[in-house]
């Protein structure tokens, strides 16, 4: 919750920190060199960071798993699925072998199935008479592997959604406060202070319950409590960029106040927002899982990692896999976002380059 921008005007003037493009480079080499591109330079810098590479690979894996998890599932209480492909039917790529919401007790091929059966893979020495389940089953005879796979579809987009919301609204508030200044600034930022002077998770619980217990509202709540952080960053960047000469030039050319804010000031204050946002998605995934864990996200048939743990937490002593496997899925996801965020920060913040 830093009140300072993580990066101050790194990309001012659109030059970035292009290696070898310092003032010492001769005019000739500049003429023959490819024109520096903001995005290419940034990318080159970012992927010099080991943590950014690891983070991206894991994230790509999670996105892949999420996209190809399987057909769309409607989470009715009976576990009915819109169109779960029958045995042998062509169904495209789907990673989850079973409908994540359907109890498998009494299904063909599931003889000998027990509640919370431990992971069983025939190739690894599990007796052939037992049904094969990579991560075992949960307390409702559902395939845990399919549930964890489908959970990716819930948690990753939820993290993006919550932080996207926080960044958009936070940036609007912060940019307005910083650019307009005076009375507007005071009122907006004091309100942000009120939100910050409060444990965010507690506020998120209250908001979720007030909006009505559901996963969507949990996402909204996590987004809302995240707003002040981005508002502060945006305001600080806007304050530092507002006085830059190229802004004065735009004003002299007759651009409107809003146009300057939108086209000149905001793009130049994006870097700290993106860095903080990437790190923020990790915390958002944690918070949403936490909200699900304390049981304020409603429908418990939705394969969400936090609520899967919440549902089975009493069973950790007998069947640890039903609790720990979804837990590791959360850790992997949050870790990926954090590594990418760290990499972005190290690459984009020149003060940390060592």
């Amino acid at each position: 919750m830093s009140s300072e921008p993580l990066v101050q005007g790194t990309l001012v003037g659109g030059g970035g920190a292009a290696p070898g493009a310092g003032p010492a480079a001769s005019a000739e080499s500049l003429l023959s060199a490819k024109p520096a591109s903001l995005w290419r330079d940034t990318l080159t810098n970012v992927y010099r960071q080991r943590s950014a590479i690891v983070g991206t690979i894991v994230l790509a894996f999670l996105v892949f798993v999420g996209i190809f998890a399987g057909p769309t599932v409607s989470s009715t209480p009976a576990g009915l699925v819109d169109e779960w492909p029958a045995e042998g039917e062509p169904a495209g790529i789907h990673i989850a072998p079973f409908d994540p919401t359907r109890p498998l007790l009494g299904e063909p091929g599931e003889e000998g199935l027990v509640r919370r059966s431990p992971p069983c893979v025939h190739a690894l020495g599990c007796p052939a008479e037992l049904p094969e389940h990579l991560f075992g089953t949960d307390g409702n005879f559902r395939d845990l592997y399919s549930r964890v796979v489908y959970g990716t579809r819930v948690s990753v987009p939820a993290g993006f959604g919550a932080i996207g919301l926080a960044i958009i609204i936070g940036t609007l508030i912060g940019a307005m406060a910083g650019y307009v200044g005076g009375w507007t600034d005071n009122v907006l930022m004091r309100f942000m202070d009120v939100l910050l002077a409060f444990p965010s998770f507690l506020l998120a619980i209250i908001i979720t319950v007030a909006l009505g217990r559901s996963l969507t509202n949990a996402l909204l709540a996590v987004g809302i409590v995240g707003i002040p952080v981005y508002a502060r960053i945006a305001r600080a960047s806007v304050l530092s960029i507002r006085e830059a000469e190229f802004v004065a030039a735009s004003r002299a050319l007759g651009e409107s106040g809003f146009g300057i804010l939108l086209r000149r000031v905001l793009p130049n204050s994006l870097t700290p927002l993106v860095v903080q946002g990437t790190l923020g998605i990790g915390s958002a995934v944690l918070e949403i899982a936490g909200l699900a864990f304390i049981g304020v996200t409603g429908d418990i048939t939705v394969p969400e990692w936090g609520s899967m743990i919440s549902l089975e937490r009493g069973q950790v002593f007998n069947s640890p896999h039903v609790v720990l496997i979804p837990g590791f899925a959360i850790i992997l996801t949050v870790l990926a976002f954090n590594l990418l965020g760290d990499g972005l920060r190290d690459a984009l913040d020149p003060r940390l380059n060592r």
Partner: protein, 381 residues
């Protein structure tokens, strides 16, 4: 200095007012009929009307805003008559006189509940923070000093995983490890509750024979008695001390791991910063022992940003405490608030959140003030 503190205290009043307002309105926006949430679905209309009158829930929430059963209704013509006569103003008056109201569900004063529940959370948070500092700072120093060594790489890998771990997953993992895997070994630890069955901590008033004591002094002693480790330590109840401490270890580790990881990372990068500075080279050049250079000269300055981060973590501890208390079945403030929110026990939600917000604001002030003691260059104005 005292002017600075006074100014900060005055500035925090509008913030606290804002918090009370936000919590008050949000809690009352929670959909559903408060009467039926508390008395049960089958409460008759007559009972409900009586209930609502008794707790003043028939009054306007804010000027013109009413709740009738499960619906919120805004009456434009009632705005002016209810400008003063509304639930919010009534609540503020109550708070100003030191009364946090009655829990509707438990028919007990909220302050009594706080005296019961707050010690658990305080004890847990302090122990968690101590764990985070005593392990995190040395880890960060070693890792910064031996940059890129195996110790550094593994510490940072651990820190990365540490900040990515949900408190409840770590808590359940620890509970499983220490109560099942290590069962029967000396490492076995209890996975829930505050004391084993049969063990109890005798409250201070009883030990000191002050049962007749009433009012705030009694409340204070009861409050301290709730902090089991402290009470058993000062009254020499060694068995209870050991037992309550053993119950605290796992929750404190679960709660303290994220702050630990953050503290270790900040300490490391801050030490790296300082070690590159000229005065460190000077200290080495004048022939000081490496140990003196690192500990006396570098580490002392490197720890300044760590103080700020520790202060920031205190707020996060409360969020974590909600999950830790749920995971380890501890009846602390965090779990009570969640129960109150889901049960629409307005007075408890407001009272508890107000106390937390006050604590939060005070801790932040304390951190800022302590900063000027740690770093003489910082002068408060």
């Amino acid at each position: 200095m005292s002017r600075y503190i006074l100014r900060r205290l005055l500035l925090s009043i509008p913030v606290l007012f804002g918090i009370v307002f936000v919590v008050f309105t949000t809690a009352r926006l929670i959909p559903g009929d408060p009467c039926r949430a508390i008395l049960g679905e089958r409460a008759t209309d007559a009972t409900c009307n009586q209930f609502i009158k008794r707790y003043g829930l028939d009054k306007a929430i804010l000027p013109g805003l009413y709740r009738e059963h499960s619906e919120l209704i805004f009456r434009g013509d009632q705005v002016v008559p209810t400008l003063v006569d509304n639930q919010f103003i009534a609540y503020m008056g109550q708070v100003a006189s030191g009364d946090l109201g009655q829990s509707i569900k438990q028919s007990r004063p909220v302050t009594t509940m706080l005296i019961e529940r707050l010690p658990t959370t305080i004890e847990l948070s302090i122990l968690a923070l101590l764990f985070a500092i005593t392990v995190g700072v040395p880890l960060g120093l070693i890792s910064g000093y031996r940059r890129n060594s195996a110790a550094d790489v593994s510490t940072m890998a651990f820190a990365n995983v540490g900040v990515s771990m949900p408190v409840f997953v770590l808590g359940l993992l620890l509970a499983y490890l220490f109560s099942i895997v290590f069962k029967g070994t000396p490492l076995a630890l209890p996975p829930s509750g505050r004391l084993s069955t049969g063990v109890e901590v005798i409250p201070l008033v009883q030990v000191w024979g002050l049962q007749s004591l009433q009012g705030p002094p009694r409340a204070f002693l009861d409050f301290i008695s709730g902090i089991y480790t402290v009470t058993s330590l000062i009254t020499g109840q060694w068995n209870a001390l050991l037992d309550s401490f053993r119950h605290l270890i796992l929750p404190a580790i679960a709660l303290g791991t994220i702050p630990l990881a953050i503290i270790a990372r900040i300490t490391r990068s801050s030490l790296l910063d300082v070690l590159g500075q000229d005065y460190v080279r000077t200290a080495r050049a004048k022939g000081l022992r490496e140990q003196t250079v690192v500990i006396r000269h570098a580490a002392r300055n490197a720890l300044l940003p760590v103080v700020t981060v520790i202060g920031l973590q205190l707020g996060g501890l409360l969020s974590g405490a909600i999950l830790t208390e749920t995971t380890f079945n501890l009846a602390g403030v965090g779990r009570s608030i969640v129960e109150a929110i889901t049960g629409r026990d307005y007075a408890v939600v407001q009272g508890f959140t107000l106390v937390i917000a006050v604590a939060y604001v005070m801790v932040n002030l304390l951190v800022d003030v302590s900063y000027s003691y740690v770093d003489p260059r910082v002068r408060m104005r």
